[in-house]
Symmetry: C2
């Protein structure tokens, strides 16, 4: 039997199951010792697996699910009306111990709601958070959380995000004492709202975290922190704004290149270099985002993910599982709660 | 006598009064019919004006102020301890009618606090807002507010920002029925927190504003809205994150260019094109940000502004003054309040 088992929601994402099966084929080559449970419409998946010569592969199990969560389904609706969706079934495989982790490229809101409902939070954890790695100027990555699981957070929740992010940076990014910062509208202590100010005090007082203070938006990619904490509203808008701007900026640069025959001539060579910069700046697309604080590993792949991007999400799920991220977070949160008693 | 009078805080900004005097010299050529009151240390300014051959210029008045607000002064401290700062004196010239508008490149927090204290908000206006133009994909600009004057906003305040931004887009951007959107973490009605949801209802119900719904961060530059409304915490972090990312992205592109002798050869030609894209994406630097909702025009120039950027801030102050932005906002807010009665 394989050491790890991964449940793949094959029906999520903008491009449907063919991307998931394509990524799975690559994963079977690159990843050893892992079993995959592919969840979704049996007829459609059988056809795709047959085409890919994977139908009776010893490391693949096909698990039928009669429903599919669409990208426009509202979270509450999908929870009530789609109990047999591929997403829900994949999450339940993690909940009942049949799988170690789950990857889905489906509707983010639905995934968060279903994951919260199905897997529950770890003991002591107030709220799960959506966390992603973002590139840093001097190389390497930093984790940023929350990216949209919680539109409103209190100080205790932000404090816990600091703890959880710190554990994740240690385990996944291999950083010894991760520098944890709060995202704020100014770096001075008096700046911001009461929630971040109180969260700053909590982080400052805790020996469990290497808190370095506030950072501003323009330091998001500056390599000043390893873990950047904010509420889901701010995190979502900050990261999506960056995506919007990068797209516009590259469009603009392309236009400027095309405006001159000499630069146009170089466009092919240059375009790949640009593309490299751009891919690097779409961590959600490239790496997948983790839903942490739950009793299991759940990775949200970008809905627009191609095979390579979905493969990255699979690799991320394996990494977090091998590093026992949920139980490490549980232990640390327990330590913090014991200290506070 | 000149038609308009502008008060310039000559001591603000990272580069001190020489940038302001340099910009003033350019403004005297490009702008007719305007008188300038230069506020700051008399000795230092006399020396600089003498060097620039501007000492007895008929359109310049020198106004001494014994104190200077530093970039690190806390707003409350600067308000209490520096009543004779160049920033405060420049604002008071607007308050007492000696000047039509004021431009400062000084400490943003101090400027907002002093402006609020000295000029007060317009009748019916709950809170002033910091507003800036940002470039849009298909050309043109959109206004975004608030960018940091209010770390926490209630729904009524966001609603008023929509009204004020709408008036500004009509008067300054010459857009007939500006499309007003709320920045949210999702475009569906159920997304976000209670404050934006209630603000959405208020905007939807008002005939005074062309409300088009929520937009997400990645649409900030997409040309979907003419006025983008959010609280100061979110706006500040969104725009600064974009600045941070753009800087990193261009750094990265430059590195990729430099890595190959063929592209390196083109770097001089290309650098200027890149620089063009980049300048265009730093609206705060390029245009200055407006503090609106007050009984007078106040423009915050970027602290790092060079002469050309400071000149843009001067031009923006003149534009808003000529368009009678404060009284237009007052009238519209009055209309809205009458409707709500």
């Amino acid at each position: 039997m394989a050491a790890l088992t991964l449940a793949l929601d094959a029906m999520g994402g903008d491009h449907g199951p063919s991307v998931v099966i394509g990524a799975l084929k690559q994963a079977l080559n690159s990843v050893s010792d892992t079993h995959f449970i592919v969840v979704g419409d049996e007829t459609e998946l059988t056809e795709l697996l047959t085409k890919a010569n994977l139908l009776d592969h010893p490391r693949i199990t096909l698990k039928h699910a009669s429903q599919t969560v669409t990208m426009t389904d509202k979270p509450g609706y999908s929870l009530r009306a789609k109990p047999d969706s591929s997403m829900r079934v994949a999450l339940e495989l993690v909940a009942d111990g049949s799988a170690d982790a789950c990857v889905s490229a489906g509707n983010t809101g639905a995934l968060m709601t279903k994951a919260y409902f199905t897997l529950k939070t770890l003991p002591g954890v107030l709220r799960p958070a959506l966390m992603s790695a973002i590139p840093q100027a001097r190389g390497g990555s930093a984790f940023i959380l929350d990216l949209g699981a919680n539109p409103v957070c209190d100080s205790d929740t932000l404090f816990q995000f600091g703890i959880m992010g710190s554990v994740a940076a240690q385990q996944v990014l291999n950083i010894d004492r991760p520098r944890v910062a709060l995202l704020n509208m100014g770096s001075e202590e008096i700046k911001g709202n009461d929630v971040v100010k109180t969260a700053a005090q909590l982080l400052q007082q805790s020996p469990q975290v290497n808190y370095i203070g506030f950072i501003e938006g323009d330091d998001l990619f500056a390599g000043k922190a390893d873990v950047i904490v904010c509420d889901g509203f701010v995190g979502n808008i900050a990261l999506k704004s960056c995506e919007g701007l990068a797209e516009l900026l590259l469009d603009n640069i392309r236009t400027n290149i095309h405006a001159h025959w000499l630069t146009r001539w170089f466009v092919k060579l240059f375009y790949r270099r640009l593309q490299k910069s751009w891919d690097w700046l779409k961590p959600d697309h490239y790496n997948g985002a983790s839903l942490i604080g739950l009793r299991g590993v759940v990775i949200k792949s970008h809905g627009d993910a191609n095979e390579r991007a979905f493969l990255s999400a699979i690799e991320q799920a394996l990494e977090e599982t091998q590093q026992h991220l949920p139980s490490r977070i549980r232990d640390r949160v327990e330590d913090v709660l014991l200290e506070q008693e």
